[in-house]
Symmetry: C2
Subunit: 372 residues, 2 copies
């Protein structure tokens, strides 16, 4: 019970890094000596100290004989920082409680082995689900090579995204559209299509989220920590030009193409050629490539064609649908273009995860039918 109590606190601490640690996971650490919390820390940003180091430094002498509660297995290899396992022994920690092992198959279990070898008592699995939940993208990328993929949509209650004449501004309310900024800021990359750019000419950046109380708290240590997601535009026909708003907007942008062109592109634009036999951009290749760029969380913001292509591949982990209390009718544009199913058992299934009212609209979060 005590272990759960302190691990909950460590997870709460870990969440403070939710907007800033990626590609690293969120990690929190609490050091407890004789039922007194003597130190705590959390990981802020890649290249900065790990949670354990902050916690040990605040504990000082009091770490001797204490228990460390860590939301993720401590590292035992020299990366950008010296290994946390060494620090834990150096400070005299006698027991380590770990929520879950490191999912990186190259290092998973090594920290535990190291600690045990150095006479430290190790408990594994306390609130493991919760710890994995706050690092879904990191865990999925490490274990499958594919980032966590969210698909964002906005529709009427009868599942329509635009009128027959294309008008869709605006089906949902200001508040719902502002909420999208918060979904974006939790993403490492936003995938969109050249169709969306040609039609809407969006910036695809995170804007005006600093006035949010929670973000103020998360970012108060340094506003510069909030990073813009990488914008990824699928442009197989080279239709995007240097004059589009998203191109002029600073911030890394990947143009995913089959062939490069001879335009002069700003330095923050990177043409990535994804060619294969089919002469089409393979979306699985794309998300695997993004995983290699250490992208944990992808947000898809596109029209029904690209959204449907991802849906058919069965790689959407989360659907985020903003629903306005309007009815657009049968002439309006559908949410998805799918096949003509013969049986209800064949259709894509999800499960409702979280329902909130955002202003006049509903925000539905659904997860893959079989994902936990």
């Amino acid at each position: 019970m005590k272990d759960i109590f302190y691990m909950k606190k460590a997870i709460k601490l870990a969440k403070k890094g939710s907007l800033t640690t990626s590609p690293n996971p969120n990690v929190g650490c609490i050091i407890v000596n004789n039922n007194i919390i003597v130190g705590s820390g959390w990981h802020k940003k890649t290249g900065m100290k790990h949670a354990e180091i902050y916690a040990l430094k605040t504990s000082g002498e009091k770490a001797k004989g204490a228990t460390a509660y860590i939301t993720l297995e401590p590292c035992s290899h020299f990366g950008k920082t010296p290994p946390c396992c060494v620090a834990l022994t150096k400070y005299g920690i006698s027991r380590v409680v770990i929520a879950t092992l490191d999912p990186n198959p190259k290092v998973s279990g090594n920290g535990v082995k190291w600690l045990k070898k150095h006479g430290i008592l190790v408990t594994i699995g306390t609130l493991s689900k919760e710890s994995i939940k706050i690092n879904k993208g990191f865990f999925q990328r490490m274990t499958t090579g594919i980032p966590w993929i969210k698909l964002k949509l906005a529709s009427s209650i009868d599942g329509r995204t635009a009128l027959n004449n294309g008008k869709s501004k605006w089906i949902t309310s200001d508040k719902a559209r502002h909420d999208v900024q918060h979904v974006r800021e939790k993403s490492d990359a936003i995938i969109s299509s050249s169709e969306t750019i040609l039609f809407d000419n969006p910036l695809l950046t995170v804007r005006n989220t600093n006035n949010n109380d929670n973000n103020q708290k998360l970012l108060k240590h340094s506003k510069t920590f909030l990073k813009q997601p990488i914008r990824v535009i699928i442009d197989s026909k080279n239709r995007i030009t240097p004059s589009h708003k998203c191109i002029k907007q600073p911030g890394l942008l990947f143009l995913i193409r089959i062939h490069s062109d001879n335009n002069i592109w700003p330095s923050h634009i990177k043409q990535i050629i994804l060619n294969n036999k089919s002469k089409k951009i393979d979306l699985i290749d794309l998300v695997k490539m993004l995983a290699k760029y250490q992208i944990n969380n992808i947000l898809i913001e596109a029209g029904p064609s690209l959204s449907s292509s991802f849906l058919k591949l069965n790689i959407i982990n989360e659907l985020i649908i903003y629903i306005a209390p309007k009815i657009l009718g049968n002439y309006a544009k559908p949410l998805f273009f799918l096949e003509n199913y013969s049986n209800l058992s064949d259709v894509p299934q999800f499960k409702f995860e979280k329902i909130t009212q955002i202003g006049k609209d509903l925000k539905l979060i659904l997860t893959k039918h079989n994902s936990s």
Copy 2:
């Protein structure tokens, strides 16, 4: 503050009649003498005593000099029961607090006038909104001549009601379908179409709701109180025959037609001829006719054609949509057949009133955009 406190109790009592009082409204009454509740009552069923009479009888002598809290203006005319106003004075009540006036324009205000004339102090308007809310159908029928109209639908998250081949069994889960029984039992009439009867051959009755705890409580005084809603089938082409399941099933059923036929119908079937110049059944005429049958609450359970016709008339007070976490795609059948709108400002708008999860599905209750 005390008035609100006691009126809340009276409204809670009134709700006990929610499945049984129609066509009468739900009414509760609390009698308070010197800060002590000395009597209480609620209306159970048309023809039975009014709430005030029960409350006065339980108070007896203690009603003298007491305050009566009544959720609706007491009657002053001799109807099926002697007027409550007379009883209130006879028992020596000195003050009456009324949530709201009787909406029936023929009698509204008469009770208050009578009480004042007999030296009783009258306060009007305590929790009036709450009192109207528990009698929405009654108030709307009395003030507009049109019952409260609910439209029930079931769809996928992309707003589809069936696959292209017509398969719709079942999009939603058992639990959601069972919940529909509770929606039916709160209705005085269910409107459906001959299309639905020919395709699904449903009974359109309330079934298996007595195992519900709340209903057990509501009905414990007498199970016979739960009445079946009147089934109303729009059958302009005389396609329903005596062999359909809903016809064989006992319980009043109105066949709404343009011409009668020569079939021999069971005595619980009533052919109602609604003819007009257009040779079509006018849905406004239909609901006004049902209001004359003292129908307070109508539930529409039909396919997209009839549902859309009601929607276009702008007389739907409440939309009840069960949404399954499935995606049926663009080939599947739409929720509504409407016009090809040119502007988003022209589309039907509602507002989300209540969202609940029923098993795997969502139940959305929406109300008319401008209704309170």
